[in-house]
């Protein structure tokens, strides 16, 4: 874990740049992480997914998988990949300031 500054805010991140404390997150941090990950601007659709991920993590302690994201967020999986190229669940978690999804076992 490293302490760093994102969008002028002090945050703790893991080796891959995921915030380790969701409380340190704000929307400017989200925009900064998005830009750095190749998403120049967060649209309403991006925000819908990011907020869904974050709310789910804060209420249940685990981030949804890409499949449940596709079923429950209202954004189909194909579009999720267009919004967050490569790994939608991972990237949306990173932008939403929650730990890297543990994936499956």
């Amino acid at each position: 874990m490293t302490a760093t500054l994102i969008a002028d805010a002090p945050v703790d991140v893991d080796a891959e740049g995921f915030l380790t404390d969701p409380e340190q997150w704000n929307e400017r941090i989200a925009e900064a992480i998005a830009r750095e990950s190749g998403i120049p601007e967060l649209t309403d659709r991006h925000w819908l997914v990011v907020r869904f991920m974050r709310d789910r993590y804060l209420s249940t302690g685990t981030a949804p998988s890409i499949r449940s994201l596709g079923k429950e967020s209202g954004v189909p999986i194909k579009e999720l990949y267009e919004l967050f190229p490569k790994g939608p669940a991972k990237l949306a978690a990173k932008i939403g300031g929650i730990p890297k999804p543990r994936g499956c076992i």
């Binding site: 499949r67 449940s68 079923k71 194909k78 990949y81 499956c104 076992i105």
Partner: protein, 417 residues
């Protein structure tokens, strides 16, 4: 008052639970019902061997009813839905089963239709799964005449039953094609949505090493979104394409269909939220679940279900006696991984400890962990006997309990999951 225990599912978890509880309660104290839509109990680890002609379906299927102790009532019915507020289960013939305790043990359902093109043209011709008895038999026929081209082994997405099975399939396919003398004409590819060969870091490295030794190409982070079973292409959501002559896939998994028809019982994928230590569900205090049907964060595997069944049966008894539940399940899982050429690896892990090298169950062995050996292969073959004769009846195997043994494990530093 005679208690009513209703168990949904007559597979590994349901059968073990029914038999254990039948021994714990006099017939005057509890009535035990098991519901399943058919009377075919499949020894699922055996499915892996069917495509290679190493097992026949009739050797791995037995009647469900016969695996249940006397005094367990078996209903061959589909579950229509569970009425949680009324403590009742409705069956497809209109029967209503009231319960004091409900145990959900209906495993998973394969959902090829959730992936575009899967189950459509080319299904069981060029695209196969060995996760169903019918699929495994069809694949056997296809492999017998497969002598050149590109064979892709793919898992669409987690969670799947027995996460090592597709790897084992790839290892055995390598062995089978070498034995048939056609391996040099075949390109073998293993594609996975994971970022490595397996979910756990130490085991993942070992298994990736084995893939490369056997000249099997590993494609990672491949989330299959679409299959063309006629043209022979598998496309990922991020637009990558893999060509194949033969595709062996593990389709998406979800919970049983009635879970979706029962408001409040399952999550979006049809899995039942379950306390990972007590196996009670937050759905209602008198609803328990085990095995593949749950969302418990460990492998969906028979060994897990077996270890869970001991804890679950104890907790059902405690619940009915008004006692505190035992938080005794530690996530213990134990799998033989068939690697071909009459050898196998063994892995043993739980929620906190990933699979490590060493020996099992103690330092003195006899089985090596995370290393290929013939003894592990024999262990895997012998296991079917234990399954029918010791595990399902609910007898203990000496020295192998729900809690993971640590004595024989060599701890590897610096790895975290």
């Amino acid at each position: 008052m005679r208690k009513q225990i209703v168990i949904l599912g007559g597979g590994t978890g349901g059968t073990m639970t029914a038999n254990r509880l039948r021994r714990r309660f006099d017939r005057d104290d509890a009535e035990i019902h098991v519901v399943d839509r058919d009377n075919r109990h499949v020894y699922q680890p055996g499915l892996l061997f069917v495509p290679f002609g190493l097992a026949q379906i009739d050797e791995i299927v037995r009647p469900r009813r016969r695996q249940l102790r006397g005094g367990v009532v078996f209903h061959e019915n589909e579950v229509e839905s569970v009425w949680i507020e009324r403590d009742e289960v409705l069956l497809d013939d209109g029967t209503v089963l009231p319960y004091d305790v409900l145990v959900v043990a209906t495993g998973v359902r394969l959902q090829p239709e959730e992936t575009e093109g899967m189950g459509g043209p080319g299904w069981n011709e060029r695209v196969f799964t060995f996760y169903s008895p019918e699929g495994a038999e069809q694949l056997h026929r296809a492999l017998e005449s497969f002598d050149r081209g590109r064979l892709i082994v793919n898992l669409v997405d987690m969670p799947i039953k027995c996460p090592v099975a597709p790897l084992e399939f790839a290892f055995l396919a390598d062995w089978y094609l070498r034995e048939s003398g056609v391996r040099k004409n075949v390109e073998l590819v293993y594609s996975t949505p994971l970022d490595g060969a397996f979910t756990k870091p130490v085991a993942s490295e070992h298994l990736a090493g084995l893939l490369s030794e056997k000249d099997i190409e590993l494609v990672t982070e491949f989330n299959a979104g679409e299959v063309d079973g006629v043209g022979g292409t598998l496309t990922s959501y991020d637009g990558r394409t893999l060509d194949f002559d033969l595709l062996v896939t593990v389709p998406l998994h979800g919970g049983a269909a009635y879970v979706e028809r029962s408001p409040g019982l399952g999550d979006a994928l049809g899995f039942v939220p379950t306390d990972k230590q007590t196996l009670q569900t937050p759905v209602a205090p008198n609803v328990f679940a085990l095995g593949d049907a749950t969302d418990v964060p460990t492998s969906k595997a028979g060994s897990v279900t077996h270890f869970e069944a001991e804890v679950l049966a104890e907790n059902v008894v405690r619940f009915l006696e008004g006692k505190e539940l035992d938080a005794g399940y530690d996530g213990h899982a134990n799998c033989f991984i068939e690697t071909g050429f009459s050898k196998a690896l063994l892995i043993d892990f739980n929620y906190d400890t990933e699979p490590l090298p060493g020996r099992f169950p103690t330092q003195a062995g006899p089985l090596p962990l995370l290393r290929e050996s013939r003894l592990n292969h024999l262990g895997k073959l012998m296991f079917q006997w234990f399954y029918w004769h010791a595990l399902l009846p609910g007898r203990e195997i000496p020295g192998i309990g729900p809690a993971m043994p640590t004595a024989g494990k060599r701890h590897v530093a610096t790895h975290t999951t």
